[in-house]
Amino acid sequence: MKKVTALLSVMVLLLLAACGGNQGASGSSGSGDEKVIEVWHIETGEREKLFQEVAKQFEEDHDGVKVKLLQTPNDAYKQKLAVSMSGGNPPDVFQSWGGGWLKHFVDQGNVQDITENVDQDHYLEMALNNGTFDDKVYGVPLGLSLDVIFYNKEIFEKYNLEEPKTYDEFTEIIKTLKENDVTPLALTNKTKWPGAYYLMNFASRIGGPDLFESAFNREGRGFDDPAYVEAGEYIQELVKMDAFNEGFNGIPYDEGRGRQLMYSGQAAMMDMTISFLNNVREEAPQFEDKLGFFVFPTIAGGEGNDTQVGGATGPVWSVAKESKDPDLAAEFIQALTSKEAAQKFTDRTGTLAAVKDVVPEDEFVKQFYDVAQNASHIQMPYDQTLPPELAELHKDTTQALFGLSMTPEEAANKMEAKAEELLE
């Protein structure tokens, strides 16, 4: 009996050893002299095509180098990268959005410091900051998006409405639209981040753009600041006015049913990132003629103004610490964010580039560009800046505010309690 157990345990050990000591699928272990750079990203369509072109060019310029691009859809990507990082088996180059999610991996020592490799003046400062921690650059941005309110010009003309400057004008528009059986605002809040834009915008308009920085860095103000409570109240006021489409908390953004409401004229406005333009061009090109946008209205007595806009960086490119050839990988992400690539990026995908002096040719995108140029402050989304757990709570509490199942005070206090626990 003893022999059998001994035999069995040896076999189990062998199996475990075989499992534990796997070589890893990481790219750099390419055969022979060929060096392989493995790149993980989430983009599809024109963006992916652009990456492929850059990769091909890079291979031509560098003898014996092969670039392997691997696309994974957004949510799956986040898990996949997290698992590969903890398995010590990451790709050489990976995409992120900068902010808290990237910092999480930086804190674990899984991301390469590329301060020496890149020219910091090449990038827009506000965008580069999102991948810079403790004055060290860990990620470089290619794209920049803004958050604006899109509207249907045709509907606005029909009811003699004009782009609102203030919140009071905004609510007047909502009332008029309600009276005429048009859904004022389309909202797809199953995904939770679209609703979070309202909270961020209201908070910035009421408490000024420094509010979040101060709360995040624990410098006096907190997430239970009166401005956050008030922002929650404004959200619930809109919900009670029936300003949004029915059942918004169960409608996802990606599947497009929320955008359908805009295209079909059932809804008149939608707070969304400028990537919406790209969706329109792919899904309903004829709708572009009717499409207009304005920045979030100002609130009387608030500390913020309309040169402060919400925005996000992405893709942000980083090099993994485990990469066999970090310098070559860093060279590749510079190629990905070269001025030439950035120009193509903005012209072909309808978003802004995070690289300096890249002026979009497209008329519509040019308008976004002007907003970004005149911006005095760009607020990165909280859920990308905060550490993951707090980010989730921020989105959950905001969704609950929209669902009227939590009071603004409750939401603010929950956020502050978690922040005290997680932030130093």
């Binding site: 009996m1 022999k3 059998v4 069995l8 076999m11 189990v12 199996l15 475990l16 499992c19 986040k78 898990q79 997290a82 698992v83 990082m85 903890s86 999480h104 991996f105 804190d107 674990q108 020592g109 899984n110 809040n189 199953k190 939770k192 489409n245 029915e246 059942g247 918004f248 908390n249 169960g250 409608i251 996802p252 599947e255 049913r257 359908q260 409401l261 059932q266 993951p388 757990e389 989730e392 959950d396 969704q399 609950a400 669902g403 199942s405 939590m406």
Partner: protein
């Protein structure tokens, strides 16, 4: 006289030893035959369960160093309102699985035996939902439940009722998903029951008929008792399956809105892969395992007692 006694004793000892040896050899042979399965079981089932248990005593984000915190994860878990919501929701899934899905599966199976014209067509129609992939089912129903343009609300409007927000409303989201779960899994139990019903001898019904039993009596005194083993195994499958439920909920609501449809499975997933609290997620996973284990043992014990009383 004494010597005889001694030799006899040593002989019996010899026999015993030989028997032991034979037994030993049997153990070796059996072990060798079961070794491959046993190894797979140890590596992929027992080892992960044990390592989950050990992770649950740590504060760990999946990559950096682990810190031992004893039972703190469990203490936190029992004070976590979201965990209790998810446990209650799991209980609801169990209840609907056992008390709606299984009876419905049985009724459908009974109907397939009824002398109705064209019933064979229904046997495939009933089974269709079970053949579809869960992701497809989830997305399909998400579209049907759409609060504005979904077919279900249009039907409701047509009948003169107000729109229901279904998945978007904290009060209706769970019911809406449970409806889909029932729709998807009842056919599975139907097939189990159908197979069991085929195995019931025709002569039992014939003799019951001779004794003058009506259809109800035949059902309650023949069919139902003979289906009992199937009901028990179905219940185990349903309960354990419901405790581990994840996919359809993840696809249809992701646990939302505001955790109204959160399950232990989805909550564990969120803690592990979104919040990077591997230790906490392991604690949830281990509690799930414990509950499933206890419930399974309970059912087995009840079933054992039932059998001891002479039932089938």
């Amino acid at each position: 006289m004494e010597t005889v006694e001694v030799t006899r004793r040593s002989e019996t000892a010899k026999v015993v030893r030989q028997a032991k040896k034979r037994n030993m050899r049997k153990v070796v042979t059996i072990s060798l035959f079961t070794a491959p399965a046993l190894i797979v079981y140890l590596v992929y089932v027992v080892y992960p369960i044990l390592s989950t248990l050990s992770y649950s005593f740590y504060s760990w984000d999946g990559t950096s160093d682990k810190t031992f915190i004893g039972f703190e994860n469990y203490v936190q878990l029992f004070h976590d309102a979201i965990f209790w919501t998810s446990l209650t929701n799991n209980a609801w899934v169990v209840i609907t699985s056992v008390f709606v899905q299984i009876p419905l599966g049985m009724i459908m199976a009974l109907m397939l035996f009824a002398p109705i014209r064209g019933i064979r067509l229904f046997s495939s129609v009933y089974f269709l939902p079970f053949l579809m992939s869960t992701v497809a089912i989830g997305l399909l129903w998400v579209y049907m439940f759409d609060p504005i343009n979904g077919i279900i609300n249009q039907l409701i409007n047509f009948l003169g009722f107000e729109n229901v927000a279904w998945l978007s409303d904290e009060n209706t989201a769970l019911i809406a998903i449970l409806l889909v779960v029932v729709w998807q899994f009842s056919p599975f139990y139907m097939i189990l029951f159908k197979a069991a019903m085929v195995g019931i001898g025709e002569e039992l019904y014939e003799s019951a008929e001779i004794d003058g039993a009506n259809s109800w009596q035949k059902f309650f005194h023949i069919t139902f008792p003979l289906l009992m083993p199937t009901i028990v195994s179905s219940s185990i499958l349903a309960i354990v399956g419901s405790l581990k439920a994840f996919d359809i909920f993840y696809i249809m609501t992701g646990g939302g809105p505001n955790h109204a449809t959160e399950l232990m499975g989805t909550y564990m997933f969120k803690q592990a892969f979104i919040n990077f609290n591997m230790g906490y997620a392991s604690a949830i996973a281990f509690i799930m395992f414990l509950i499933a284990l206890v419930v399974t043992i309970l059912i087995q014990v009840i079933d054992f007692n039932r059998k001891k009383k002479g039932a089938f």
